[in-house]
Amino acid sequence: MASFIIRRILIIIPMMFIVSFICFFLTELQPGDFVSQYLENPRISPEQIELIKERLGLDQPPMTRYVMWLKQIITKGDFGYSFAFKRPVIDLIWERMGWTISIALSTILFQWIVAVPLGIFSALHPYRMWDYILTFVAFIGISIPNFFFALILMYLTNSSGGLFSSQFIGAPLTWAKFYDLLQHVWLPIAVIGLSGLAGLMRVMRGNMLDMLGAPFVNSLRARGLPEKQVRKHVIKNALNPMISIAGMELPNIFSGTVITAIVLNLPTMGPFFYTALLNHDQYLVMTFLMFIAFITQIGNLLADILLAVLDPRIRMS
């Protein structure tokens, strides 16, 4: 087990190198660079643009910049500097982590709390009216474009997005502030959560149906276990495969909701990334992509470990 974890962790290192390379060239290939937005500003002369380019290192050939960047990361843990913010990108990302993680985790929590019981319910009453209704609702959830749904919900609830009313932003944490947060936060959680919820629910239902048909279930019944206890076994077995799904879903919830976060005015990394992308704030974009890739790796690793903890077959092989 320990060697498995160590091996998994070691694999991450070379993979992150390749990831960094992909990130760099992805951003490099984009037409235009950071200073192109300065071109239309009459306050800035062409000479000065050259100066800025030089200062930011944009006059160097791409390969040199990549190697330099990599060297800084390895030797100093320095992921570079945001052209726009004049600050280390890692700080900027860090500043936005809190809310990003909180919202992502609450969304996943919400999805699981809703999807798992509904999936179980659906599987225990397959092909009945409620199963059909839940399936239908779930599919509608996947089918509405997030941003569209967000917009309509905002209109219907007269909400203006964000996480707090303005007077509570930056205010010390009180019950009133917490209550205010609850009043705001349900919207992004519902919007982001609903799209993934359906998939989870369907998978849970499928797993449950599979497990209900598994031979050991009959065996358990034959031993005289009450149905409640049998279900406990079934649910536990059906839940296990979901863990790796959670591992995969984490990065998408982290950042896959760019548009929703813009529409809902969330202080998360998604919109920040989008702005950086449009600004050609190269190191910021690269680091962000790398960071997400890293989180995915960690997410998968955690999922694998959790799976191993819960499933003796994996743990012991």
Partner: protein, 362 residues
Amino acid sequence: MKGNTELRVRKAFFKHKLGIIGMIILILLYLMILFADFLAPYNYQSTKRDFTFSEPTKIHWRKDGEFIGPHVYGMTKSRDPVTFAVKYVKDEEKIYPIRIFVRGDTYKFWGLWETDIHLFGIGLQDDAVLYLFGGDRFGRDLFSRVLIGGRVSLTAGLIGTLIAVVIGAVVGAFSGYYGGWIDVVIQRLIEILRSFPRIPLWLALAMLLPPTWPSTTVYLGIVIVLSFIGWMGVARVIRGMVLSLREKEYILAAQVIGQSNFKIITKHLIPNTVTYLVVVSTLSIPGMILGESSISFLGLGIKEPMTSWGLLLKQAQSLSDIQAHPWLMIPGLFIILAVLSFNFVGDALRDALDPYRTVDKV
């Protein structure tokens, strides 16, 4: 035996009511975009100054209580002097009957021959239009635009999926068949690419498309961008399937009689995964349709004068539009409808083809 399986699959599919409904809707939608120019009463690009933001045209059947067939009235545009809101007043004196096979804007049917016959409409009139879904800010017919926009939205997902599945199947099959270091490299690569989140990667890739490309090329670019992520999931599963298939006797037999590896992969391995591929395709099209709409919504995808449902929806993104011109949200309903239908069909197919549920969402 094969016939039996087919029968069983068909029966199982048709038992899935939502699947059938989805299938019917999809067939209708694709027929719709196939004959879009003919079905659309107007050219999707033709602007009408006097009908900007005109609400969906009301079709009347009776005149003074007397049935005279479907017709619309002439409309006059006016502006509220205070709010500057556009208003339309109908002129009941001017009656324009709705006819079928009516002459209107000219178009090239399937790019083959030029014609000006439209399935229905009131012809080209100065003071009246038949805008079933209302008009947009240039007074273009939203109904016609939805029909034409569907071409991009519905085919982008389809072609994107096709590319993704083909690449995924080939890469997965090679990876599984050859094994060894090829397999290791491919699997690692896939793992790496999969660790990028979908939408940011799409955005980053969409930014790569040279903005100077003409819209048709941009369209292809978007399709390729969309397919870029889909193929990896397919490749992983196909690899797994091929790994087990290649131990099967008939593959060994093929190897023994000296068939080339390429032939074995294309003739024996990939065909055996077709069931899975079909299901996976149906299930990944919805994601791609949504992807296209998201990219276009952010302005990184399809651009005017071409149009897609995502782009059309972009015009309905403001709260005042929802309030003042709610019909602009109709393209959103079409997205939902198409995606929903694909999901239903995919789900039904999965249940029918794969009773043991080896196919999960990719």
